[in-house]
Amino acid sequence: MALVKFTYALKRFFPKLTDTKANGKTIPAVLQEIEANYPGVTKYVLDDQGSLRQHVNIFIDGVMIKDRTRLSDPFGENSEIYIMQALSGG
């Protein structure tokens, strides 16, 4: 099972958000599982068409994903998937 971790910035909106194990074999499937636990959270990560929001990144084992539209980057059984925000603004 992959382990999904989140930026602390999302905890403002989802206070119970914590490291979560997921069975899904693709990133969209993993996000669907996360959504079931934290309703609404995928709307923060993905846009209306299911693409990764412009200022959000996903890392798999420390490497940024390449496919931001269909989220097709592969990962392994024991991978760590980290969802983070870009640091910008003021």
Binding site: F13, K43, Y44, D47, Q49, R53, H55, S88
Partner: protein
């Protein structure tokens, strides 16, 4: 004058209350989060916050207890597969206007968005649907474009209180559109307007109304602060007349407010040309017409007259009986108790102000 002011700002939704002869901050909700529009529905007192998180997208929140508690509801979203242009997927980038549907449609709400979609809710905002007729309008993909923002956006929704199926909307950049059947069909209402920034100024769409408002005492009287001047219509938008000052400051700007009791009286907040977009000669001035735009009076008493860079965004100038209030890009909030003849500072230290509304 109603005793509450709701502000949408770059750092949250801020409420002010008028008590004992002065405005006092009542609350700040969503501190640190940009609120593009703060909206109070006068039918039921519900407060709405249109949020622009930047990282996490746009969100919609409502409160039924004056901001003490908030509930997130699903923000307007574009159906799967919709495109702004061929190859550019449509996703809600900004909530730019909000209006209630009127007394006969008690559950109806409208929201205008960037990239150009109008959304309607028939269930008090629990869900919003894209108004397909406008989204599929034959002029949209080729004839609308960004102005102020990168993509087209709907910043004005004017519901006629005499017939709540009759609505005007303002789009930057496309112009004014009118429906008489609650959004099933649309007519373009840009006759008489100019678009001197275009290679062909005689086009059907491509105009840049910065804001469109109706006179509450006669909704056939529409006013718009346009990129190319100030325009007025006395026939519900069928014809527009340029009422800008040829040689005065009342010309370029973003905001306009019409007096609740007089369709010929309006205020604008002029800015120094579309090139600079700063206060006119480093001084803040509001202009008022009392004669339908034939003449404009400059109102400066109490406003900074040197070293000033403030301008006023399109939703940030409002009137209620004798009161006029505006908020600026540098976080100054001003109040006039006498239709602009004199001004008082409410606060000099607010965040950038996007919207101002009077509420109960």
């Amino acid at each position: 004058m109603r005793s509450t002011l709701l502000l949408g700002t770059r750092k949250g939704l801020i409420a002010y209350r008028f008590q004992n002869g002065k405005w006092t901050m009542e609350s700040c909700s969503f501190e640190g989060i940009p609120v593009s529009i703060a909206y109070a529905d006068p039918r039921n007192g519900t407060w709405w916050a249109c949020q622009d998180h930047g990282h996490w997208g746009v969100k919609l929140q409502r409160s039924k207890d004056r901001g003490k508690s908030w509930e997130e509801v699903a923000a307007p979203a574009y159906p799967e597969g919709e495109e702004v242009k061929d190859g550019l997927p449509a996703t809600t980038r900004y909530l730019w206007s909000m209006a209630h549907g009127g007394k006969n449609y008690i559950s109806r709400l409208w929201i205008g968005t960037d990239p150009g979609g109008l959304f309607v809710s028939e269930d008090e905002g629990n869900s919003f649907q894209l108004v397909e007729s406008l989204w599929k309008h034959p002029t949209r993909k080729e004839g609308w474009f960004g102005g102020g923002r990168d993509l087209p956006g709907i910043h004005s929704i004017v519901v006629d209180p005499r017939n709540e199926d009759h609505i005007h909307i303002g789009i930057s950049c496309a112009g004014v559109f009118e429906t008489t059947d609650a959004g099933k069909s649309w007519a373009i209402r840009n006759k008489g307007m100019s678009a001197d920034f275009l290679p062909d100024p005689t086009v059907e769409t491509g105009f840049d109304p910065h804001i469109v408002v109706a006179a509450p005492s006669n909704p056939d009287y529409l006013w718009q602060q346009n990129h190319c001047g100030i325009f007025r219509s006395i026939d519900a938008g069928k014809n527009w007349l340029d009422v800008s000052e040829p040689n005065g400051p009342a010309r370029f700007g973003f905001a306009i407010a019409v007096a609740g009791d007089n369709p010929d009286q309006a205020w604008v907040a002029p800015a120094d040309s579309d090139v600079n977009r700063t206060a006119i000669q480093s001084a803040l001035v509001i202009c008022r017409t009392d004669d339908g735009g034939k003449t404009w009076k400059q109102l400066r008493n109490g406003l900074p007259q040197e070293s000033c860079f403030d301008i006023v965004y399109r939703h940030a100038l409002v009137n209620d009986s004798n009161a006029v209030v505006f908020g600026t890009t540098t976080g100054n909030l001003f109040f006039s108790p006498d239709r602009g003849e004199s001004w008082q500072v409410i606060n000099n230290y607010l965040p950038m102000i996007y919207s101002v509304q009077f509420a109960d």
